[in-house]
Amino acid sequence: MKRILFFFIFIQLSLLLPAKTIIVCSSCEVKTVKNAVSLAKHGDTLLIKKGVYYENEITIDKTLTIIGEGFPIIDANSKSKLFTVIADSVIIKGLHIKNIALSYTEDLSAIRIKKQKYFVVEDNILENIFFGIYIEGCKGGIIRNNKVTAEAVEEFNSGNAIHLWHSKNIKILNNHVEGARDGIYLEFIDSTLVQGNTSTKNIRYGLHFMFSNDNEYRDNTFETNGAGVAVMFSKRILMYGNTFTKNWGTASYGLLLKEIYDAEIHNNTFQENTIGINADGSNRVNISNNNFIQNGWAVKVLGGCYENIYINNNFLNNTFDLSYRGSLNGNSFNGNHWSTYSGYDLDKDGIGDIPYRPVKLFSYIVNMTPEAIVLLRSLFVDLIDFSERVSPVFTPNNLLDERPLMRVIDN
């Protein structure tokens, strides 16, 4: 807040100075953005009128406000990168940036901001980019209401739509990112909020966290991405109210937790993913009030998971509710609703009288012998699952929901 206040005071101060507005259009005195930047002084505003501008490698080395009117098209013609910002508090707004070149040696991006205290990138359309918005070493800033689209085909020759590296206090709000390698990529990022974004059709991850602590992402939608959302090697991440849907494919999942400590996962919806949550080495994670609907596996717990608590979640119509490896390690699955629960509730307190076993025998066998999955949906498998449910012999004894809820929880 202090920083924002400071920024506004700064803007006010700069307005007191003889700041001017430079208008760029095809019939004006200044015809290119590059030219305008070089003419401008600290604190000026560039107003870019509607039109098509073929530009390349614009370096902004003074505090400027760049505003597009009617989404002027800035086209790099697939030859180079575009804006590189090396000045503080630059605002880029309302531009339509197109055709960033592909490179195997350099992360060419539409807007790249290097080591600044503050910036605003909002209401832009970025189309056919290699890297979209690339932030490195910044201490604050807002990326808001942008629409970033790329046409990535393979991972090795594509970039990320919104790429943040070694920054903190960034707000990424209400953006739409589509068709890149990673929709939103965060590495060494602290205290950042990712809210209300839609990330779809990215070939790797919708959202990718690496080595980033104390972040929050909420109310985002991740749909039809190569592998959903990956949260790796991070501490104290809050994940609230997101929708993970249709992340479907042989190596796909809604949410990957890899080496995660003390996260909170609440009120999310996981629908039609091959795997809803794929937990590998996650510790002290609270997973509550989520909906798992029609996934292949709702939750797949691999090794090294301790003290995770699943409570008040709905598990509805998943092919497998849970796949589990190893001993219980303090993980708890008590107090969830399972659509395949077939017990009864004689005392009508809403809690089933007999415990539920979330691991089916077939799921247990598939865990030991992955090839056995070829028997999926065969009559024999249905029979052994049924007999195991009636009298459990093979599945781990302690892996139970002691208090299965009879009704769907209204999340």
């Binding site: 042989t250 796909s252 090839e371 999955i373 070829v374 949906r377 065969s378 009559l379 024999f380 498998v381």
Partner: protein, 260 residues
């Protein structure tokens, strides 16, 4: 042969059981579609039913028809007709009338629902083709059992056992093998084991066409690589064809030598 085929066919078409069978599929198809509202899901559920049920019905109908038309067969044998024609005609009469019930019963609701305008059309066609093959195969196997077994009770027993083996026990042994040898690479083994059971083969063929194949991970990818190609499809249809033609050939061979 055609005359006998025609006779058997019409005999069965007029019988109550064909209508019951037809009505069952009609009902199943419509209920599934109107409850589910999703063609792809309906195809999955239908597969579950079809893969188990068509072999069972094929086996039971086949064996019942052979035993109940025993006197008529003996009458025909006294006529100057080739034995091959008599038995093949009867077999085809049963198999084709069952297939017709199946195709019409499932066809009407799906066509009414608009399968032709849907992306699931090929899944659906695969389903119908495999179901028809299963009917042909299991009716032929049932005829084999009936020809070789004079005692009706025994014959019924064998037929049910055959169905039970293919639908349930085979998978049990298969699974046991997979678990026991889990330290070895088992993809090729499971591919071959699948080819040896028409029910498993049909199930896999349909599963791989559907979204659910994503659950099958690495093994699924190996299967997809095999069955997904034209060559694989050709081989698996070829195997189904061999499964159908071998028992039919045996019906002919056996009936030529059999002493009535």
């Amino acid at each position: 042969m055609l005359k006998i085929l025609k006779y058997s066919f019409y005999d069965l078409i007029r019988s109550r059981w064909s209508y019951v069978y037809l009505a069952f599929y009609l009902l199943l198809g419509s209920v599934l579609l109107f409850l589910n509202n999703d063609l792809s899901k309906a195809v999955i559920t239908l597969m579950n039913v079809i893969v188990v049920l068509t072999p069972l019905i094929g086996t039971i109908f086949g064996i019942m028809y052979y035993y109940s038309s025993r006197e008529f067969t003996e009458l025909l044998l006294a006529q100057p007709i080739k034995r091959r024609n008599i038995f093949l005609g009867q077999y085809l009469g049963v198999a084709l009338s069952l297939s017709a019930s199946l195709i019409i019963g499932l066809g009407i609701p799906f066509v009414a629902y608009g399968i032709f305008y849907s992306g699931a059309i090929w899944d659906y066609i695969t389903l119908l083709i495999t179901a028809t093959f299963l009917t042909l195969i299991f009716t032929a196997l049932a005829f084999n059992i009936a020809i070789s077994t004079e005692n009706r009770i025994k014959g019924f027993g064998y037929a049910i056992l055959l169905w039970l083996f293919m639908a349930v026990i085979y998978d049990g042994i298969f699974l046991l093998g997979l678990v026991m040898f889990s330290e070895y690479p088992l993809e090729n083994f499971s591919l071959i084991a699948t080819l040896f059971n028409p029910i498993d083969l049909s199930r896999i063929l349909i599963l791989l066409k559907l979204d659910i194949s994503a659950l099958m991970g690495y093994t699924g990818a190996v299967f997809q690589k095999f069955f997904g190609t034209n060559q694989g499809l050709f081989i698996s249809l070829g195997v189904l064809f061999v499964w159908a033609i071998t028992p039919i050939w045996r019906i002919v061979a056996k009936s030529n030598k059999k002493d009535f």
